[in-house]
Assembly symmetry: C2
Homo-oligomer: 458 residues x 2
């Protein structure tokens, strides 16, 4: 035990320095102009894995951005951990709200500010450095495989095919993912559920060209107004989604599980203050943690149409657009909800507009059983380094590929996240607390050891 | 009579060539980067007026874009016509929908395509060339003054002060404006009413930063959804505006005037086909022409918020914005409706958002009495050149300064427009039919002659 702690203590400055270099690469998967940066970043990840001690590391081309694979097989008789992460990041805009450049990492007050610091480069790097620690100190307890993709933020369009066609290469006993948050350093937690996702884009077209709002206003349906009416109709006054059939497959949690989740501390006043809002909103009959964890939601992620420039233009536009996503819970199916949503939008469109909608991407909800060896090893690892039993949580976000791994590889997924909800994921000024970064590097080797002990192979 | 027709026939090619040069100047008043173009355009208008025969022409600086003034006083005993127009144009975007460059004029099938061809450079130029014709052929019947401003498309923020402080300079017997449309070359018409305008921008703020829609979705009010709900609530299911007090001052037209307006031919099937819509929309109980002429309206001219780029971003945004305008009819007041609208938006905002709204610009509705000398002269001039009595119409658009001229100068305004509703004003591929351009140049000298005869000074 001592050997790896000492190694980490001596090398922590270098660990941070290396992560900083990785964060400088603007690997924004959603933007085609960053295609070369994606290649650069994949190569940097491959090099880091080789330097950490991987026996081999390969960059696999896909129809989109490349996937990095690496492994170190110490003994086929030992259990194998497959670490999944992603090197791509969300777009950084709005740029003007960043206090420092999104790709110019800065440490301030013990926090590392940069796009991707927490989601997910920083958390991937915890695994790389924990792996290095175990290799260099001769304490590896399991075989290790890494799969680090570059398309998580755009829905992993090529990962499914890759995983399904390379089940032998990726064969493992557990998939370990650090791409989620914990409650706080004082209150460790492990996500045992993730919501699924449906993400669509809808275009509403009225007249076939932009019109003068004075000449035609009042006589021709305005697609912005129509889109607004359609969006407004998607929730009722109780905060429930109005799409027929939307809740049909939702698994209601038994009272005992709701009570267990309610153990998580929640300070509504602090939550509101942190967000700068005077009131909260959500589905009636559920707490905030339930609204973000065990209930499905529908959010408009973007809207645009008509004149959005400086000043005033009296236009009655031809088109209006929105990006709409739903978070799904067990046992909702992403494809089914996508179809329900798109069909519903067509159905509620008035006759003076036409509606076109298409899916961006989707993913299935996922649950980790709390009685699995994988969960128990994760819980014990956190308890060892944090001194407290972590609370099992339902996370609100989606990692669409969790369900895919279970289906294709036949193993459980553990979500050992070290971020915080306040990390500004997908927002300006994303950060990762250095304390969390180092705690992750310290905790991961314990997971390897406990999993080797608890797993039937061990 | 013959002299001026001959002059126009000989010079029509040059008239078009000169207008084409004027249209090349991208005088977009709403965009600060075009400030130098506004100066260039003002100088070009001044030069054109001097070359046409003005005794003097001056560029007046304002707090915004300059105003061009010119005059030719032939006899103080004769009546004076003040021609008003504007040299500024609407922004040209969306650029990708133009078939040729918005500032690279092209003549195709007898139509001149360019931003500003109809609104309003082409129509101003009819007056410049009609004036030149009368000067060169010695047939001027009235004194002529020109005021051509550069801020009409942004609400004429500096014209009011200019007109009010220079009432002596601008003293006249009628204001003549060509900035409207007629029904068609076969069915001439004159706008006797213009709607007023209220134009505001509203910002709805939820959380103080963009959030991850997975982590916070379902628990925090989404400002896009909220803005959509607010917009949706502004009309009831009968197409009526729901803002309390909105209709209080609306002057209902007597049945006889509604019958007179109903004379205008209207082919609903052709109207729908032209716009590419399957159905129309509007306030119940009113015809399409009434909806755009004698009824007030509320339109959303632009909306934006959240992620609007390529691909998918799972953001719950901090802010959403809209540009909203109302067309007003007699006796609605612009300032009152602006206040009603802004107050209402604040009132309907739910507690989990904050609303900020400000006015862009406004203008009052206007009516030209059909028994005035000015209207009669205009009607007779059109009848002379078109062979048909023009139909008095209520135009849907707004020229906010019509009410200002009447108030500040104490005279009536005549709206002698030669555009067509199909001119794509404020849209891509704006055009002006050359037949209309030349018909305007032919008709205007008759107006001068008939006004001189009918006016008490004449």
């Amino acid at each position: 035990m001592q050997a790896w702690k000492e190694y980490q203590e001596v090398n922590k400055g270098r660990f941070l320095q290396e992560l900083t270099e990785l964060l400088r690469i603007p690997s924004v998967s959603a933007r085609s102009e960053h295609k070369p940066d994606m290649q650069t970043c994949a190569k940097a990840v491959r090099t880091a894995l080789l330097e950490a001690g991987a026996d081999k590391a390969t960059i696999f081309a896909t129809d989109g951005h490349p996937i990095v694979y690496a492994e170190k097989i110490i003994d086929p008789a030992k259990p194998t951990i497959l670490v999944y992460g992603h090197y791509d990041v969300q777009p950084a805009d709005p740029l003007e709200l960043w206090h420092s450049g999104p790709f110019e990492p800065v440490v301030k007050d013990g926090k590392l500010f940069a796009r991707g610091s927490a989601d997910d480069k920083g958390q991937v790097y915890m695994h790389v450095k924990a792996f290095e620690t175990m290799v260099k100190t001769g304490t590896l307890a399991c075989n290790v495989k890494f799969i680090v993709e570059g398309e998580e933020e755009i829905g992993s369009p090529n990962l499914g095919k890759f995983v399904e066609s390379r089940a032998a290469l990726l064969a493992c006993d557990v998939v370990l993912i650090s791409d989620t948050s914990m409650l706080s350093l004082d209150t460790p937690s492990i996500d045992v559920g993730l919501r699924g996702l449906t993400y669509i884009e809808v275009a509403v077209t009225g007249p076939d060209r932009d019109l003068h709002s004075g000449v035609y206003g009042g006589a021709v349906g305005n697609p912005i107004t129509t889109l607004a009416e359609m969006i407004a109709s998607l929730h009722d006054k109780h905060g429930r989604i109005t799409i027929p059939g939307f809740y049909d497959d939702v698994r209601e949690l038994p009272a005992t599980e709701r009570a267990e989740l309610a153990r998580a501390p929640f300070d509504e006043a602090a939550y509101k203050k942190d967000l700068g809002v005077k009131a909260l909103w959500g589905e009636e009959g559920y707490s905030t943690n339930e609204r973000t964890g065990i209930r499905p939601t529908l959010e408009v992620n973007g809207i645009w149409g008509g004149y959005t420039g400086e000043g005033a233009k009296t236009v009655l536009p031809s088109k209006a657009f929105a990006k709409i996503s739903c978070r799904l819970v067990p046992d909702q199916g992403s494809a089914k909800i996508t179809k329900l949503l798109i069909d519903h939008l067509h159905k509620i469109a008035p006759p003076y507009v036409t509606v076109e909608a298409h899916e961006h991407h989707g993913g299935e909800p996922y649950v980790t059983p709390v009685d699995s060896a994988a969960f128990k090893a994760a819980s014990k690892a956190m308890e060892t380094t944090f001194g407290k039993t972590p609370i099992p949580m339902r996370g609100g976000g989606s990692i669409p590929i969790t369900a895919l791994f279970e289906r294709a590889l036949g193993v459980k997924v553990v979500l050992l996240g070290f971020g915080l909800d306040s990390d500004n994921l997908h927002s300006p000024n994303e950060k990762f607390d250095l304390a969390n970064f180092y705690k992750g590097i310290e905790t991961i080797p314990y997971f390897h050891r406990f999993f080797a002990e608890m797993h039937p192979h061990g």
